[in-house]
């Protein structure tokens, strides 16, 4: 049993123990602490060993033909995402407050732990089957949490909406994965092992045409899960309705599954398939950045605005992926990390605003900076991180992605034009974030509101996330050291 | 004059139609049940009739397959009546009615 198995099994065990009657919050916190420490150990070990190869391998063969193995391993990319998951899980459990309405919160904490375990399993699985299955494991509690503990009148309808939406996405994805399994397994030895499915360099068993049509369901499936335009409309309402920790976990961690899948499965296994859809993908990601960016500007509620901003930033990560070089992919993974932390931070702060105020309608708030200075300052940090200010990891990842697109670009190709257009998104995101910030925290106080400042219990996770963003912003090589040659390796 | 196969079948069809009409139109579930039995009898009658004219020249067919089948149907029908009536009694106790239009809990 390796440390990675431990990381995945601890939240599951904690969930079982809560189910058997243990104290929910204590167990969840203990599991989150343990995972945070183990995650750091994994990360440090990876830094020492280098991120190019798989480490901490473990496997149990479940079936021989087709070969089905419950196996886990981490390389640099998985390591970064594992670190992201344990950090966000820790913060999400910490910000979960006592006011769960009904019951002892058993289901609440079990769901949180299962989401974390599912995400960790999906990021570490070496097997196509478990890669998919663990993600589904994480999705189901998400739906439950939104339906049971969500906010607003439409929470049940929203829970249904994303259940169906993501269900369809997963189904399409499943179709693509099955096609992959069928067509790429070595003759006579069907296998789900991702490494064994990978074609040997230079000789791909499938023609470009076949790759193209297998790539499409993968792109659409992963795209729906990542809220790629035009499959994005589930995201903002879901995050607005979700309880704070679920919004943090889903937007911060679980949504990265689709991007991880693109990098781990779709792109390496079907390189020519991607080439066929590159133009389409560029158009769609511009839809994310520009179109959804504009949609974000006109949002009236803070939670929806943050949700849409998260959708918008997915476009940059896709841009990094579309660059097809190590710079772009490194930038994309760095951005997954940076965006994961910053969006979790924003949702955590937005959640505590929701607890204190009777509305999150931006135009009806104003001048709150005076009565809640700590929240105002931390929200400022979060907002500046989100719009990609130097000093935060988000900036480092954005600039890496932009440079990646222009690597050795003597003349303007389609990728370069798309990148220039995508640059405008930097202005758009500044517009909506600063407008909201100005309207909520600055200016004259609207109404007679003197809400309390951020609770003491929230301060540790919030400050932790800000420190991580700053640390990786000042020294992005901490993360990037694990991903020096991602493109070549995969 | 001895009746031919057509007459038997005519009577059988008539019985079946009356039974079917009863099932469709009557409200009382016990009557419906009786009509069902009538339809079974119609089937039995045509079975025996086909046997009687079954060898091609208006003479009985070889063997007693039809009779066996008829006995089988009668036995099953008897069992069905036992179970069915028990269900109806239970239904009446639960719902205080034996009218089918009141029994619409299967509505989708």
């Amino acid at each position: 049993m390796t440390i990675i198995d431990l990381i995945i099994i601890i939240p599951i065990l904690a969930a079982v123990a809560i189910g058997c009657g243990g104290s929910a919050r204590v167990l969840a916190l203990a599991a989150a602490w343990a995972n945070l420490l183990l995650g750091l150990v994994v990360f440090v070990t990876l830094v020492a060993k280098g991120g190019d190869e798989m480490h901490f391998k473990s496997s149990w063969v479940l079936l021989h033909s087709p070969e089905l193995t419950l196996g886990f391993a981490v390389d640099g990319m998985s390591g970064v995402l594992v670190l992201l998951t344990v950090i966000v899980t820790f913060c999400a459990v910490r910000v979960s407050s006592g006011d769960l309405g009904k019951g002892s919160g058993k289901l609440y904490y079990i769901s949180l732990l299962l989401i974390a375990a599912g995400a960790l399993g999906a990021f570490c699985a070496t097997d196509l089957f478990f890669f998919y299955a663990f993600h589904e494991l994480a999705l189901i509690p998400t739906f439950l949490m939104i339906g049971i503990y969500g906010n607003g009148r439409e929470k049940v309808a929203t829970a249904w909406k994303i259940t169906i939406y993501l269900g369809v996405g997963s189904l399409i994805l499943l179709g693509g994965l099955i096609a992959l399994y069928v067509s790429l397994s070595p003759p006579g030895a069907p296998t789900f092992d991702i490494a064994k499915l990978a074609p040997s360099p230079g000789e791909h068993p499938l023609s470009a045409e076949v790759q193209k049509w297998i790539f499409l369901p993968l792109l659409v499936g992963f795209g729906i899960l990542v809220s790629l335009f035009p499959f994005h409309s589930w995201a903002a309402p879901a995050y607005a309705a979700a309880p704070t920790p679920v919004a943090m976990l889903h937007a911060g961690v679980l949504k990265k599954f689709g991007l991880y899948g693109m990098l781990r499965v779709a792109m390496p296994l079907l390189p020519e398939g991607f080439e066929a859809w590159k133009g389409l993908l560029l158009v769609l990601l511009l839809g994310n950045i520009l179109y959804v960016g504009l949609v974000t500007i006109s949002q009236r509620y803070l939670d929806r605005m943050i949700g849409n901003s998260s959708v918008m930033h997915m476009g940059y990560i896709f841009l990094g992926i579309a660059c097809c070089n190590s710079i772009g992919w490194g930038g994309a993974v760095l951005m997954m990390f940076a965006h994961g932390i910053s969006i979790a931070l924003l949702f955590a702060l937005c959640g505590s605003l929701r607890e204190r105020l009777d509305t999150l309608e931006i135009s009806r708030l104003g001048g709150l900076g005076g009565s809640m200075p700590f929240l105002a300052v931390t929200f400022g940090f979060a907002a500046f991180a989100s719009i990609g200010l130097p000093g935060f990891a988000n900036f480092a990842s954005e600039i890496t992605i932009f440079f990646a697109a222009f690597k050795d670009a003597g003349e303007m190709g389609i990728l370069q034009v798309a990148t220039i257009l995508a640059l405008w998104g930097v202005v758009i995101s500044a517009v909506y974030m600063l407008r909201a910030y100005r309207s909520i925290f600055q200016g004259e106080l609207i109404g007679e509101r003197y809400p309390a400042d951020l609770a003491q219990s929230m301060r540790l996770p919030v400050v932790l996330m800000i420190v991580i963003l700053l640390l990786t912003g000042f020294f992005p090589n901490i993360i990037l050291k694990l991903l020096p040659n991602l493109f070549e390796v995969l | 004059m001895m009746p031919s196969l057509n007459e038997y079948l005519m009577v059988s069809g008539l019985l079946f139609a009356i039974g079917f009409a009863g099932v469709l139109m009557r409200r009382n579930i016990i009557i419906i049940f009786m009509c069902l039995e009538m339809m079974l009898s119609a089937a039995n009658l045509s079975l025996v009739a086909f046997w009687r004219f079954g060898n091609g020249q208006g003479m009985p067919a070889q063997g007693y397959d039809a009779q066996v089948l008829v006995f089988f149907v009668i036995a099953v029908a008897a069992a069905e009546v036992a179970v069915g009536l028990a269900i109806i009694v239970a239904l009446f106790r639960a719902r205080c009615t034996v009218h089918v239009e009141d029994l619409n809990s299967m509505k989708g």
Binding site: L294, V295, G330, K407, L423, V426, V431, L434, L483 | -
Partner: protein, 608 residues
Amino acid sequence: MSIAFIILLLPLVAAASILLGIRKKANLSAYVSVASAGICFLLTLGLIRGSGGEAGAFTWLSVGGLELKIALEITGLTRGMILVVTLVGLLVHIFSLGYMRDDAGKARYFAGLSLFMFSMSGIVLADNFAMMFIFWELVGVSSYLLIGHWFQKNSAAEASKKAFLVNRIGDFGFMAGILLLWGATGEIGFSALRETLEVQTFDPSLLNWAMICIFCGAVGKSAQVPLHVWLPDAMEGPTPVSALIHAATMVAAGVFMLTKVTFLIIAAPVAASVIQHVGALTALLAALMATQQSDIKKILAYSTLSQLGYMVMAVGFAGFLHSGEAVGAVASNAGFFHLYTHAFFKALLFLGAGAVIYACHHEQDIWKMGGLIRLMPVTAITFLIGTAALAGLPPLSGFWSKDAVMAVTQNSTPLLIVGAITAFLTAFYMSRLCTIVFFGKARSQAAREAGEVPLMMRAPLVILALGAVIAGFEFAYGWFIAPADLPHPHGALPLVLTIIGVAGIVTGYLLHRGREKDPIRVEVLVRKFYIDEFYLFLVRVFQDGVAYLAKAVDQLLIDGLIVRGSARLTVGVGLLLRGLQGGNLQRHVFLFGVGIVIVIYLITIALG
């Protein structure tokens, strides 16, 4: 760690320690910040005596063949600029001790100042575009924080937001330009780029586009037309901030950056022409707008815009083809020379205005002041020295630098005329300002009660006044620009300029002596050519309109028609099928019967 790195990092340490530790102790925070500025200034004195060259590097980001470095480069112009930044910075810090003495957010203010010093030093010392861009954004943030210092005032909150957003538009172009250059050459270091451009030839249209894009960054930061609108609004910030950031240093960063890429301007003549004309247009328009403002800080803000226009225009002449050869570095040196002297006298004017505002209980309307020369003589005299320098009267510093700039424009008659008109207007509006504020009778109670400011605020004024007098002499600038590298005017240009300056001052004085309001009121100038209104309209119609439209499309088409539509379709089909399941036993039986009949019919047909 080299001296330059310490200069760079010390203010960051100060800002961080204020934010993390001592922000509750306002006075201690202020002293920490001032001390860091003072040490930086002393270290700068050491640095500028040094030999220059590289000063160490730190690999900030490296992945897959991309390496972005924080590397410092010290050239001649860098030394001049870092001296301006640390000297004016130190004086503004000291002045702020008095000006912000009783402010509730004092610790936050000084943390902002230190953060600014860090960012600005980063721009000055950068040896590559990536690092410059990083600090370029950071000065934007510190400017945002300081303009919005009084964030509970709606106007200050709006102004800080506007400044940041307008700058972001410029940064968009800047980044695009950097990327274009990097794509073509594979280099982002200034010296590496210069060498590459010397060795290889590149598509001129690409270079032109890249340079125009990079110039966008300068347009935003140095507030050139059409992105000039943020600077006047930025006057909502505390006055010392306006002196440091929005007069002497940050807004000059655009010009400084252009001087750093002079080699690129030379290689891109079309872009150079764009730069000249944008600069000239800014100089003229801003000077016109300055003549009709009544807020003392806004007048100075437009004046800053106009002078920045001068500098940009001069730098643009580097790529001007004069009998087949580019004018070259001489032109950008002239621009930088003006930047250098301007930093002194404009910081002086702003701090003087700050002292006046402080003395008049935060009154900024010049029509409520008057006669202040008797009540606050030191402030008034230093202010008048600054005015004379700005108007270009010999032998003050502004005279020499303006001569250098105008000498460059002698290459092109239309721009020479624009420059001369602007020079006249400059003298005119400054004389108007001084006449109204310092002479005549006091026009309000606040002005009658004004008194001289404390020593802590007077001392910086005197030092800057000294700088405004001597900065144009060779001993004060020769150590970073050799006089031979500056352009020299032909003919009677200096004399003509002096006459223009005197004429402007006299006209301004005569027109406004003893008046209670402007004798000539030009509505279009008062309303700043309606540019703000026009932009507001553009933002409303295009950005917000399109955003609203996009939201509507999102809700109606994507979420409504496609997503909910398919959901509705499923539900609708379900409803149809539901009708078949009435729960009525007899209906089921009937349908069952019908089904059997149909099946028998079909079987009959199939069998023939």
